[in-house]
């Protein structure tokens, strides 16, 4: 049985330090585990009250595509969990415009509210971060 955040993380972080964390997602879901396991980090990390941004670049934009149905491949459909991010106060989700357009997608194809940013804006946002996590 998968551990819940509460089972392993104990008390909320009370250290007081707030850093800017950016999670960079560049891979498609399901073909590899990175998308699913990176989402788990974001969820656990939410208990630490840091300043979190989640960025979807390149094939990462596919992670938040609507209508994913993993029934026939028999894997867990973790895409629904992206909608829980809001409840965890993780609201800064950014999609790179160039990546989305190159893949013929628009915001209407996504299952969570995001802010679309240009490459340059993503780069400048990254420059502000204290910690950048890639998967």
């Amino acid at each position: 049985m998968e551990p819940t955040p509460e089972e392993y993380e104990g008390d909320d972080y009370e250290g007081g330090v707030v850093k800017k964390f950016m999670y960079v997602n560049r891979r498609a879901p399901h073909g590899t585990v990175y998308a699913q396991e990176s989402l788990e980090v974001v969820l656990i990390g939410a208990a630490f009250d840091q300043d979190v941004s989640v960025v979807f670049l390149d094939d990462g934009v596919y992670q938040i595509r609507k209508d994913q149905d993993t029934g026939a491949i028999g894997t867990k459909n973790f895409s629904k969990t992206f909608r829980a991010l809001e409840m965890y106060d993780v609201e800064k989700l950014y999609v790179e415009k160039e990546s989305m357009e190159a893949r013929g997608m628009t915001e209407d194809d996504l299952n969570v509210p995001v802010e679309v940013k240009t490459s340059e804006e993503i780069g400048r946002l990254m420059e502000e971060q204290d910690v950048v996590l890639s998967f």
Partner: protein
């Protein structure tokens, strides 16, 4: 400075495990402190006690254990990733009712919060992966 490292890939399969190791050794040589090394995704396999690589090649797992002992490093294997991949310690073995455990010396199994804490407490955090 206080540095932390995240390693996302297993030994031998990807060079990440080697690059991370050499980076850490150099950081220590330069007088930096390694706050934590966190093993995620297939990186948890770096903590498998049961690897038996050929004698004429580096022993990645033993190398981590030796480095941990020499420099008192905190090597943390993510519990969720470890459970998926079958890397367990004695307490997990009992908890899950398994017939064996396989964690290598110097490693401990803990939650993803340890990764976030490493980011908060360290001056720099570097990710090695594929």
């Amino acid at each position: 400075m206080k540095l932390s490292v995240v390693l996302n890939e297993g030994p031998y399969q990807h060079e990440a495990a080697d690059t991370a190791y050499h980076f850490i050794r150099s950081a220590i040589a330069k007088g930096h402190e390694i706050f934590r090394v966190f093993f995620y995704h297939d990186g948890v396999y770096n903590g498998s006690r049961l690897t038996t690589p050929p004698q004429d090649d580096r022993n990645i797992v033993e190398r981590w254990s030796a480095l941990a002992e020499e420099h008192n490093l905190d090597l943390v294997v993510c519990v969720a990733a470890a459970q998926r991949r079958g890397i367990i310690d004695e307490s997990e073995q009992k908890r899950q009712g398994k017939d064996a455990n396989n964690i290598a010396p110097g490693f401990r199994i803990s939650g993803l919060g340890q990764l976030i804490e490493a980011g908060i407490e360290s001056d720099r955090l570097v990710v090695f992966g594929d």
